[in-house]
């Protein structure tokens, strides 16, 4: 008799294995042979096209051969099995898929993997590990900045980038003086975090966690 934990693990492995084999098996050889980056497109093709793309995720270089329709989010989750980044709405409205690309937070659901040639991507797995958590992760735990946790990786990636944006002097909608350096007040961080939705409503604790990290020297 398997324990629930073992069943969970085998179910996940089965799903991962199935997804991989479908991905390889379903792409016709003709489509795999063509090189869409070269100047030979098929204008009205209904056949999936693939393209090669190389980028770095959490310091590790990857070269992928993906269906051109693959979003960065799906490349991270389904190809690289970095499932920390979550798919919420898949339309750029909820922020659960937020990752940091080239130092900037973006919605990974609204960008194609093939558009990230040479880019450097940081996901929640790259910010910290259970043994060596990022200060923002520690603060979220300390301040109970979540309930179900589904939006949390996106919240944390966004929060880390928000602190950098304020340090870089990027103004926001609630910044009083456009020509002065913005401060990370509660109103500022709430405005800047408005692209990350939390259905459990942990906002006040999220705000406290970010405030604590932002207040640290250095």
């Amino acid at each position: 008799m398997k324990t629930p934990r073992e069943l969970e693990m085998s179910r996940r492995n089965l799903l991962v294995g199935t997804a991989s084999s479908v991905a390889i098996g379903s792409v016709p050889q003709a489509a795999r042979a063509q090189n869409p980056v070269a100047d030979v497109p098929a204008p009205t093709s209904t056949v999936p096209a693939t393209a090669k793309v190389s980028f770095t995720v959490n310091g590790v270089a990857h070269e992928l051969d993906v269906d051109t329709r693959t979003t960065l989010l799906d490349a991270l989750r389904e190809h690289l099995h970095l499932t920390g980044t979550k798919k919420g709405c898949d339309h750029g409205q909820c922020g659960a898929c937020t990752v940091i690309v080239g130092g900037r937070r973006i919605n990974s659901c609204l960008t194609l993997a093939v558009m990230h040639e040479g880019d450097s991507v940081t996901t929640i797995e790259g910010l910290g590990t259970p043994e060596h958590m990022h200060p923002m992760q520690t603060a979220f735990v300390k301040h109970d900045g979540y309930q179900c946790g589904y939006c949390t990786p996106g919240q944390i990636c966004s929060a880390v980038a928000v602190i950098d944006e304020v340090k870089a002097g990027i103004p926001s909608h609630v910044t009083g003086d456009l020509n002065a350096a913005p401060q990370l007040t509660n109103a500022e961080l709430r405005e800047r975090m408005s692209g990350n939705i939390c259905r459990c409503g942990a906002y006040s604790n999220i705000a406290e966690a970010i405030t604590e990290v932002a207040g640290r020297p250095g």
């Binding site: 980056v37 609204l110 990027i170 103004p171």
Partner: protein
């Protein structure tokens, strides 16, 4: 999403030529609107031309003392540019009033100008929409139309242009520079870029097939008090019900453009002569010919009140 082939453009002229040569090709830059629509199969390009690597990502001074904003300058970078913050505050404010931090990091200047309406019926592929499927009808007319246009509407479409940035650019007399597939370039006053819906609401700009926006230019700074006021259902991360972009000089003269009320940023230069006399007098000319629905008639007094508030703030 429908399958598509993909290429990375080498130069603006190559990108335009490629778009003209290939059937059903589209440019992709930030992708924040296009990919959303492709997932819903509202947009179905057979070929994507990725223009992100083109050298169009700079904000530069022009010979006449203005600014040239590259098509690929991200909304975050444009809003944060020190020259824009100092000399074109209304543009910085409009950009910061739009979308979320994540989206502004990706969204580009040209993409913002070319984003499609957020009319819920345009997005709902189960409903008729003349913009999505010409000739199928308009579900917003007689439907839920609280967010829709009150000016420049037609019998076939009452959708609004969702951009905040474009409203500020209209008040600032921006021009849009493009390259066409044959390599020729042109400069278009922003007033002429977007079309009213008429009986062809699916054609939203005057750009020719394959024509690529390369930059937006701003004339030399005009000073004044610059304000962007956006009225919306949420305090952040929502589209405008009504917005006002205003540049007001000390003598009370200036320019005013409206967002959330039409298929394009709305400005009536003749009405601006009334600016020193107050919002009521300006609004009379600005909203002349308005055709609101029962559900969005509130936008008429809301424009006047928002403008009055902006003018009061400008007076200090």
């Amino acid at each position: 999403m429908k399958p598509f082939t993909y290429e990375r453009a080498k130069s603006p002229a190559d990108a335009a030529a490629s778009a003209a040569r290939l059937e059903n090709a589209k440019f992709v830059a930030g992708g924040t609107n296009l990919l959303d629509l492709m997932k819903l199969e509202i947009e179905q390009p057979a070929h994507l031309i990725d223009v992100n690597r083109l050298a169009l990502d700079k904000v530069e001074a022009t010979a006449d003392g203005g600014l040239r904003i590259g098509a690929l300058v991200r909304n975050t970078d444009l809003a944060a540019d020190p020259r824009v913050r100092r000399d074109y505050g209304v543009l910085s404010r409009a950009l910061l009033a739009g979308a979320s931090g994540q989206l502004r990091n990706k969204a580009t200047t040209a993409g913002n100008l070319l984003q499609r309406t957020r009319c819920p019926y345009f997005y709902d592929t189960n409903m008729p929409c003349n913009k999505r499927e010409p000739g199928s009808g308009c579900s917003a007319i007689g439907g839920f139309s609280r967010q829709h246009a009150i000016l420049g509407v037609s019998e076939t479409c009452i959708a609004t242009n969702p951009s905040d940035m474009a409203v500020a650019m209209r008040a600032l007399d921006a021009r849009v520079e493009t390259v066409r597939p044959d390599g020729t370039t042109r400069s278009i006053p922003i007033a002429e870029l977007h079309r009213l819906p008429g009986d062809t609401p699916h054609i939203e700009t005057i750009l020719a097939p394959g024509e690529l926006i390369t930059s937006v230019t701003l004339p030399k700074p005009v000073g004044g008090t610059q304000i962007y006021r956006k009225v919306r259902d949420r305090a952040s991360y929502a589209f405008a019900l009504v917005s006002v972009a205003a540049v007001v000089q000390r003598d009370g003269n200036g320019s005013v453009a409206l967002g959330g009320v039409a298929h394009k940023p709305w400005r009536v230069e003749a009405a601006e002569r009334e600016l020193p006399r107050g919002a009521k007098e300006v609004t009379r000319g600005l909203l002349a010919g308005a055709k609101p629905t029962d559900q969005n008639a509130f936008k008429v007094p809301l424009v006047e009140r928002t403008l009055a508030s902006v003018l009061a703030e400008a007076k200090g």
